[in-house]
């Protein structure tokens, strides 16, 4: 079931070199379920921090981060890890595949945390790889794959557990244009066909064009939200 994401008065600071840097400042944000969001802003505007908070990789200093009906501040470390395993899929800029495992084994990793038999895990991983078009590369190690293929494996891994939310941090940052477009189309398809809520950090306006909505952050605060669907409709696309 698609989930919405809500942030209320979220503040997050980091200490660096004796100075406290407020990365997110009383941020309020509502994200609709089953919507593809791009998160843009200059460096240091808090994009990755926001992604980490929504993904439960980090916790806010104050405020509420709610994904679906779960307030993440109420979960301890172990519960947060379990929640991530069940509800969130991550796609990173550097692909972050484990080099010693094959594509299939990488995709199977998060499934180890699910109550599945070995056979079920294998079938589910293969389905995810087929979905991203890598059915003929399942037994290849990451070093035997191109950058685009590696990112598609990472996406397969992110969707293998059928999470409601997919968080992508610069997923096309290391890819050429054509490959990047293929990966973005794949994310768009996951949103449209499987109704995943996707939050993607990007610097690339072209990549942001694939999203339904673009959230602009500036110095830890919400700048504006552009609705690509509305502008497409207005432009007669």
């Amino acid at each position: 079931m698609p989930v919405a994401i809500t942030l209320r008065s979220v503040t997050k600071s980091y200490s660096r070199g004796g100075e406290t840097l407020r990365v997110l400042d009383e941020l309020d944000l509502d994200m609709d379920a089953a919507t593809f969001y791009a998160l843009m802003g200059p460096s240091g505007s808090g994009k990755t921090t926001l992604l980490n908070l929504v993904g439960g990789l980090d916790q806010a200093d104050s405020g509420v981060v709610q994904v679906g009906d779960i307030d993440l501040a109420e979960l301890d470390g172990g519960e947060l890890a379990q929640w991530r395993a069940e509800h969130v899929g991550f796609v990173f800029q550097g692909f972050n595949l484990l080099p010693v495992l094959s594509a299939r084994e990488n995709v199977e990793l998060p499934l180890l945390l699910a109550p599945l038999s070995k056979r079920q895990r294998r079938e589910q991983a293969e389905r995810a790889l087929e979905l991203v078009g890598l059915q003929d590369r399942m037994d290849h190690k990451p070093r035997e794959l191109s950058g685009g293929q590696e990112q598609r494996v990472a996406i397969a891994r992110a969707i293998a557990t059928d999470p409601q939310v997919i968080l992508a941090d610069e997923p096309t940052g290391d890819l050429d244009r054509n490959t990047a477009d293929a990966v973005l189309e794949l994310l768009q398809r996951l949103n449209r066909e499987l109704h995943k809520t996707i939050l993607m950090v990007t610097h690339d306006p072209q990549a942001a064009g694939y999203a339904d909505k673009v959230i602009h952050l500036d110095k830890g605060k919400l700048g504006r939200i552009d609705d690509n669907r509305a502008s497409s409709a207005a432009g007669g696309r």
């Binding site: 980090d58 890890a81 379990q82 929640w83 069940e86 990173f92 180890l112 891994r157």
Partner: protein, 389 residues
Amino acid sequence: MPWKLLLRNVLGHPVRSLLTVGAVTVAVFLICMLQAVTSGLSRTLDASAANRLLVQSAVSLFVDLPLAYQQKLAAVPGVEATCKWQWFGGRYEQDKGGFFAQFGIDPQTFAPSYPEMTVVAGDYAQFAATRTSCIVGEQLADKYGWKLGQTVPLGGTIFTRTDGRPWEFTIAAIYHSNSPAFDEQSLFFHFDYLHESLEQGGARGPQGVGVYMLRLAPGTDPLDVQRSVDAMFENGPQRVQTTTEAEFNRQFISMLGDVPALLRLIGGAVLFAIFFAVLNTMLLAGRERTRDLGILKALGFANGVAAWLLIGESLLLCLTGAALALGLAGALEQPFAAATATFIPGFGFDRNTLLLGGGIALVTGVVSGLLPGLRAARLGVTEALQELG
């Protein structure tokens, strides 16, 4: 627990893993060897008979006692029988680099005093009746392929024949021992044959007896006999020292120094060396896996899984090394036991020694994996992912 990942991590660095496993194998094998020697010595001492005393010169084991002492010793209350033991120190003509012990003994009292010795071939009565014959241990006979009736030529080093020829002893019997305190790698011959040769000028060498064995009558207090014997010869002509067989063996071993303490020291040093080697490998592995650990945690794996991946890897390396070492110990037990039988008849990798080897590997594995494991458990997800560069 992603076991496959653990295994792949180990196999992912084959040279490093092989070297670490090799180091553990050598270390565990060495520790098992040292322990086998220590417990072998201990078994030898433990198996020493309580009803036998040994009388030697109070000056040194290398100083002979007068022949006349035997009659006086036999008259001491509580002494049932006496037997001479004279170290011969001959060199086997067919294997001059080899070594085995030879003793001149009294055949009449020797066998009844050592019930742990069983004749498995030949006839002890024939040995007792034939002055130039000998009885040899089963292992010694097997080692040189000796058969009954065969002559064993021994070149004298302490006792030399005046005609320049080697001594010749005919094998009349072969014995088996069921006690680790009594080895199967010795040759025993008639003391009288040696003595008469010396008396008649057929041979040169010191005249006297190295050690007298006293067999005690049942119910005799060894301490009483010890005191009586020592007191009897207090004023000479040759002062004696009387000890139990266990004490005699202990003193014999201690001529090399405090062997068990030395072996324990070496074992401890080996243990430390291997611990640091495995710890170094695991710290390196832990640093290298920061990225992978961050990914696993982001995917939802708990901190404990991250820790166990490294502890498990350490355990896998150490236990593989231990398994190889114990296999090696099993394969080499017989050759080692044969090589050390003269000095350590009780040598052997017993269950406790093997458990010690396995236990050391287990503890080394856990402790070496613990430090990088704890670091992995404490590693923050964002911190780990930031190290991606």
